[in-house]
Subunit: 153 residues, 2 copies
């Protein structure tokens, strides 16, 4: 639309907006990380470790690859992270018998028990954001679209 006329928003503002959005995202992500760090320190988990545990709590034992797809993480990140979860006694690694390339991650009893302790965490986080439900939904929607679009490029 308006192909031959000036865009309604001047270039300079577009550029500033881009920087602000990217920077806001960066800052917001780190702010979340900081609050999660605090909420999770009693559990002895980092935020990425918590994400892995969530996947296991929700869907049960899974190969490394499946976890990586859900969290958008590769083996270079997951392998050492899972090693630390194993060292903490929360998780067990088992090489698959029918496909020996694959390693399945299982929860240990301790890992399963930890779920109980983790239950209040999301509510605490939710409150800390200070957003309404509708705003959260809008945010989630926009972020999802951005991520999909960026993954194309």
């Amino acid at each position: 639309m308006t192909p031959t006329t000036r865009p309604p928003v001047p270039d300079a503002e577009l550029l500033r907006l881009d920087h602000q959005v990217c920077f806001s995202l960066h800052a917001a992500s780190r702010a979340f990380g900081s609050v999660y760090r605090d909420a999770l320190k009693d559990l002895g988990l980092t935020y990425p470790q918590y994400l892995v545990m969530l996947v296991l709590w929700e869907h049960g034992s899974q190969p490394v690859k499946a976890i990586g797809e859900q969290l958008r993480l590769d083996s270079g990140t997951l392998s050492p992270l899972l090693k630390r979860l194993e060292a903490a006694g929360l998780v067990r690694r088992e090489r698959s018998t029918e496909d020996e390339r694959s390693v399945t991650i299982h929860l240990t009893a301790d890992g399963d028990d930890l779920r109980e302790q983790a239950l209040p965490v999301p509510r605490r986080m939710l409150a800390a954001t200070g957003l309404t439900i509708d705003e959260l939904r809008t945010l989630r929607g926009l972020l999802g679209r951005v991520t999909s679009a960026l993954d194309e490029a």
Copy 2:
């Protein structure tokens, strides 16, 4: 509102929503990082280094502390990052004479020249997000509010 009645959104959905928002944020931030990495590799800058250069391009020479406040980064992150920028010849460090605790960061001629090369980057990023101007503004607003709220906690 509706103080004694059931909330209109069930608990379970709240929790899922929180996870989705936090996770989306994490994923979106990394997706941005990935596209920036690509857009910036010709300049030899990482995304955080680019953010520091933006601050210097826009506001000129500044002490480390001021840069950290604008980018929400501490000296543990900035000191080595600035060292790398200095090693790349983009930046010069100068201990302040009137307050010898403070180190002022100056752009070198090369660092100033790089601005020219960086000009097309934001437009490219903007296009890659696939969002409209209004959506970007909404996103920026929500992210800013989340970050402020989280910084309180």
